[in-house]
Symmetry: C2
Amino acid sequence: MKIGIIGSGNVGGTLGTRWAQGGHTVTFSSRTPDSAAMKALLQTAGPDATAASARATVQSSDVLLLASPWPATKSMLNAAGDLSGKILIDATNPILPDLSGLEAGTSTSAGEMVAGWCPGAKVVKAFNTIGSSIMADPNMNGTPALMFYCGDDDAAKQVVHQLATELGFDAEDAGPLKQSRLLEPFAMLWISLAFTRGYGREFAFQVIRRA
Amino acid sequence: MKIGIIGSGNVGGTLGTRWAQGGHTVTFSSRTPDSAAMKALLQTAGPDATAASARATVQSSDVLLLASPWPATKSMLNAAGDLSGKILIDATNPILPDLSGLEAGTSTSAGEMVAGWCPGAKVVKAFNTIGSSIMADPNMNGTPALMFYCGDDDAAKQVVHQLATELGFDAEDAGPLKQSRLLEPFAMLWISLAFTRGYGREFAFQVIRRA
């Protein structure tokens, strides 16, 4: 698959690297593709990864991962241009700057706002509910970490399901995009436990079903 | 412990019964304590359970479980009278009548609203994130189901921790009461998976930490 990464921080960098190492063609969007940081990222990601402008990243990719800081999300999408027909995996959370909560609540969600800003894109909310170190290795003592996703386009969700499963996640479909209103607070819960309740980053959730 | 149950439906009935069977003194609040349904509940719960008016339930209990239908919550608390100094375990979720979402979002929560309606009560949000059949038996193939709780009073939270642990839960402190804004969407996620995504009621979450 040709995968573009919009927002190459912890989440975007980790996922893009692992997908490139797994044989996908990955383009990291960057305003400074020749920077030292990007060169280091590309060296780790290997020969199947390159860096490009936002617009070129979109043009060369079938699947886009949106992993931007929330305040920059709208402007980064504007810079990316037309996303019609693209699969856009939205891993953002509308987290307030002091981590005290979410900017958008149950009356809307970042997922739905992103969809409104990208008419025609097939938005799937995913990879927003856990930290990048778990994305780097979702194998938790032999058990796969849980990764919920949601969206309104079934074919796009199947693609995301495959991508998450390839990484070793227990990928589970949480329903339509509106479920972002629940997956975003779920992410905020993980974040607050990790950083203010002493859990640290090395934990995940698992679904257990009664045998 | 002397435990009063405000709202004796699936959640309140299950928890009250299990606590009574575990040796606690349980009072089920009811407007019709002599009804056939209440008699059946008391027969199951055993000799340590009785039924009483809301006001009498509060007066005879140190710990109160609030497990009311959300639209009835405020009036049931009004009927219960003064809750100053009581530990109030809030298991409600502000779920819209059609289960499509939550009435209150990240700008507030049922937990905080309940605290505002009960000045002086030590509100702990708990037992709101999973269905009553898991409360009946949190043992999931040898693994305890997860139960988050949150609140602003540490001593009250220790009590709730003990009560949840006695039932067999992996009880985990999610922080201050404001975290209800996250635990309520977490509950809504469980609900939507159970009832609209085909998971059914017999699943739970578990926290897995990297060994």
